[in-house]
C-alpha cells in the first residue's frame, strides 16, 4: 500500500469517494507523520482526538448525500485562525492560553465542507516576519536539506537550535513546512505582504493569495486589515484550487468580504492558455538580480508562450515604492489592531500597581522584538504632525501602484508574470540580525499585490543551482483567480511536478 501522506489532496479525495481508503486511515497516517516530524516544529498544537472524531464522522457521511467537497481530508490550520476551544495565539506570548469561544469563517467553511483538523501551525508572531523566526514557539525548519548537508547533520541540528537549517519562509512557515513535509494534505495560510507566496516558493509548494475580500477575515487575528487575506498552501495547483473554493465566499460578519459567489476553481485547472496575454514587468528586473532568478523567469515566460499565450513587456512604474509604502501602511494598521492586547480581556497579564503600567509591562513582555519594533513605527507614523508626511503619502502611493496594474489590465493583459522571491531559502539565523530592512526585502516581488488588492499565485518552477526550490508568481485581475489557476497549472506541468525531499527528519 502506498504511503497515504504522499497522496495529493485531489487523489485522497477520489480514493475516499471510491472507498479505497477511509478518512480514519488518512487521519492516522498524518498524525503519525506529525509525531515523527516533531523536530521540524511545524505544529504548535496537535488536535489528535478532534481529528479522529472528525474523521469518523466523515467516514459515516462519505458515500451519502451529505458528504462535502472536502469530506474526510486532513488539513492543518495556521495559528492565526480562531478555532473554537483550540490553541489560537498567532504564535505570540501575549495571547497565552487564549481559547476562542468562536470559529473563524474560513475554518468554519472548511469544516462545513467536511475537512478534518489535524492541529495548529507555527507562524511568525502576528504574521510579522519572512522566516518564521519571530514565533514565540521557536523557528520552523524547512524539510529541504541545506546544500551539501547530510541527513545526520541535519537531524543533529534539529535537536540543537536548528541553526543552519533552512527556513521555510514566513509568515506561514509552519503551513509551508507541514505541506512540503507531507504532514497534512493542505493548510490554511494568510498573506499581508507575501506570507503565503514566499513560503510557497521556499518550500516548493503552491500558494495563492486571493483578491482582497474573496475570503472573510472574520476570526483571523488581525495584522493590517486593508492588506490581510486568507489563502491556502497545497502541493499542487489543483489542490490549491479545491481548498480556495471552500475557504472563500460571502460573509455578513466581514463588511469587506465580497458578496460575489465563488466559481468552481478546479474547473479552471487544465483549461487552455491559448490566446491569453501575459505581461512581464520591466521594473521587477532588479539591479544585481541573480542569474538563476532571471533565467527561471525567462523560462516561465517561454513555457507560457509554448502553451499558446503571448508574452509582452509591460511597465508598472511605481513598483519600487511598494515595499517602503508597505512599511508605513502595515505597521500603522498593526499599531491600531494590536492596541487590543492590554492584559485585561485575554491572554497575558503582567501585574502592576496602576493600569498604564499594567499595559506597558504586559505589552513589553508579551510582544517579541519584531512586533514591538513595528508597533513603534506604526505609532510614530500615525502620531500628530507625521500623519500626512508618512501615512497619507503612503496611501496616495498605493493608489498609484493600483493604477499601474489597472492600466496594464485595461491594455489587454490577462496576468502578470514575475519571480516570487529574490533568492532561494536562506538559513535560520542568517538574515536581518543587524538591520530589519534586510529581512523585509524578501517581500519585494509579492508586496505590490497586497497593496493593490489583487490575486497572486506562486507555483514551483524549478531548482536553484544549489538544488533548492524556486517559484514564479502570477498576478491577476481582481476576482480572476481562475486565470491564475489555469496559468499556474501550465507552469506546474511545464516545470514537472516538484519532487519533495525524503523524510530525513523522521
Amino acid at each position: 500500500m502506498t504511503d497515504l501522506t504522499t497522496l495529493t489532496l485531489a487523489e485522497a479525495r477520489d480514493r475516499l469517494k471510491s472507498r479505497a481508503v477511509s478518512s480514519l486511515e488518512l487521519a492516522k497516517a498524518h498524525l503519525e507523520a506529525i509525531e515523527r516530524a516533531k523536530g521540524l516544529n511545524a505544529f504548535v498544537a496537535v488536535t489528535a482526538d478532534k481529528a479522529l472524531q472528525m474523521a469518523k464522522a466523515s467516514d459515516a457521511r462519505l458515500g451519502g448525500k451529505e458528504a462535502g467537497p472536502l469530506e474526510g481530508l486532513p488539513i492543518g490550520v495556521k495559528d492565526l485562525y480562531a478555532t473554537e476551544g483550540v490553541h489560537t495565539q498567532a504564535c505570540s506570548h501575549i495571547l497565552d492560553g487564549f481559547r476562542p469561544p468562536y470559529e473563524s469563517t474560513v475554518t468554519a467553511n472548511l469544516w462545513r465542507d467536511g475537512a478534518v483538523m489535524l492541529g495548529k501551525l507555527n507562524m511568525d508572531e502576528f504574521a510579522m516576519g519572512s522566516s518564521n523566526e519571530t514565533s514565540y514557539y521557536g523557528p520552523v525548519a524547512s524539510p529541504w536539506l541545506p546544500p551539501n548537508w547530510s541527513r545526520e547533520r541535519a537531524r543533529a541540528a534539529l535537536g540543537s537550535g536548528k541553526r543552519g537549517l533552512l527556513t521555510p519562509g514566513g509568515s506561514s512557515g509552519g503551513s509551508a513546512s507541514a505541506v512540503a513535509a507531507r504532514l497534512c494534505l493542505a493548510a490554511t495560510a494568510s498573506d499581508t505582504g507575501g506570507s503565503i507566496r514566499q513560503p510557497a516558493a521556499f518550500t516548493g509548494v503552491v500558494g495563492i493569495k486571493p483578491t482582497y475580500g474573496r475570503c472573510s477575515r472574520y476570526g483571523m487575528v488581525a495584522f493590517a486589515s486593508s492588506l490581510d487575506q486568507a489563502g491556502p498552501l497545497a502541493r499542487t495547483v489543483r489542490d490549491a484550487a479545491i481548498m480556495l473554493r471552500s475557504m472563500a465566499g460571502p460573509d455578513p460578519k466581514d463588511s469587506t468580504c465580497s458578496p460575489a459567489s465563488v466559481p468552481d476553481y478546479e474547473a479552471a485547472v487544465g483549461r487552455s492558455v491559448k490566446g491569453m496575454t501575459i505581461g512581464v514587468p520591466r521594473e521587477y528586473r532588479l539591479e544585481g538580480m541573480s542569474d538563476e532568478i532571471e533565467r527561471l523567469w525567462a523560462r516561465g515566460a517561454e513555457w507560457l508562450r509554448a502553451a499558446g499565450a503571448s508574452v509582452v513587456d509591460v511597465s508598472l512604474s511605481h513598483t519600487p515604492y511598494a515595499l517602503p509604502a508597505y512599511y508605513i501602511v502595515a505597521p500603522a494598521e498593526a499599531s491600531s489592531n494590536l492596541a487590543r492586547y492590554d492584559g485585561v480581556r485575554y491572554g497575558l497579564r503582567e501585574p502592576a500597581p496602576d493600569v498604564i503600567e499594567l499595559y506597558e509591562k504586559t505589552r513589553a513582555s508579551g510582544f517579541g522584538a519584531e512586533v514591538r519594533r513595528r508597533l513603534m513605527i506604526g505609532t510614530y507614523v500615525l502620531s500628530a504632525g507625521y500623519y500626512d508626511a508618512y501615512y497619507l503619502r503612503a496611501q496616495k502611493i498605493r493608489t498609484l501602484i493600483k493604477r499601474d496594474f489597472e492600466r496594464v489590465f485595461a491594455a489587454g493583459v490577462d496576468a502578470v508574470l514575475t519571480p516570487a522571491t529574490p533568492s532561494a531559502a536562506f538559513g535560520i539565523g542568517e538574515v536581518g540580525s543587524d538591520n530589519p530592512v534586510e529581512m523585509y526585502l524578501n517581500d519585494i516581488f509579492t508586496v505590490t499585490v497586497n497593496m493593490a488588492g489583487l490575486p497572486g499565485l506562486v507555483a514551483p518552477a524549478g531548482l536553484s543551482n544549489k538544488g533548492l526550490p524556486l517559484g514564479l508568481q502570477l498576478i491577476g485581475r481582481p476576482f480572476d483567480e481562475e486565470t491564475l489557476f489555469t496559468l499556474g497549472e501550465t507552469i506546474e506541468q511545464s516545470a514537472g511536478r516538484m519532487t519533495l525531499p525524503e523524510p530525513w527528519w523522521a
Binding site: 492560553g97 481559547r99 469561544p101 468562536y102 483578491t211 475580500g213 486593508s226 455578513p252 463588511s255 469587506t256 465580497s258 458578496p259 511605481h318 519600487p320 515604492y321 517602503p324 509604502a325 512599511y327 508605513i328 499599531s335 492596541a339 492590554d342 492584559g343 485585561v344 480581556r345 485575554y346 497579564r349 502592576a352 493600569v355 503600567e357 499594567l358 499595559y359 505589552r363 513589553a364 514591538r372 519594533r373 508597533l375 513603534m376 513605527i377 505609532t379 510614530y380 502620531s383 508626511a389 508618512y390 497619507l392 503619502r393 503612503a394 496611501q395 496616495k396 502611493i397 498605493r398 493608489t399 498609484l400 493600483k402 538591520n435 530589519p436 530592512v437 523585509y440 497593496m451 481582481p478
Partner: protein, 95 residues
C-alpha cells in the same frame, strides 16, 4: 527624518510598551533604519492623487439596526486573566 532617544521614549509610551534605558539606543538605530528605507517615498509626485481608502471598490453593506447577539457575558469573560462578579478587573484608576 530620524528620531532621537527622547522621541523613542515618547513613541514607546504612546504605544504603551515599556522600554528599558538599555534598549533605547538599539531601538533608535532600528527605527531610523526603517525611516531611512521609507525616505524613497519623498521623491514620488503625489500631487492631486487620492489616498487609497478601499482597495477593491465595493458598497458598504447595510443591515437593519437591530441587536443581533448578546447575553454571552460568560463567553466574553472566559479568557480574561482576572474577573469578578461578571466584570473585568483592573488596578484602581480613580483616586
Amino acid at each position: 527624518m530620524s528620531v532621537d532617544l527622547n522621541a523613542v521614549r515618547r513613541i514607546a509610551h504612546l504605544a504603551r510598551i515599556e522600554v528599558s534605558e538599555a534598549e533605547t539606543p538599539h531601538l533608535q538605530r532600528e527605527i531610523n533604519a526603517i525611516l531611512k528605507f521609507v525616505e524613497a517615498l519623498d521623491t514620488v509626485d503625489v500631487e492631486g492623487v487620492e489616498p487609497m481608502t478601499s482597495v477593491i471598490p465595493m458598497a458598504l453593506p447595510m443591515r437593519e439596526d437591530v441587536v443581533t447577539d448578546g447575553d454571552i457575558a460568560p463567553k466574553v469573560l472566559a479568557n480574561a486573566p482576572m474577573t469578578e462578579d461578571g466584570f473585568f478587573v483592573v488596578p484602581k484608576v480613580i483616586e
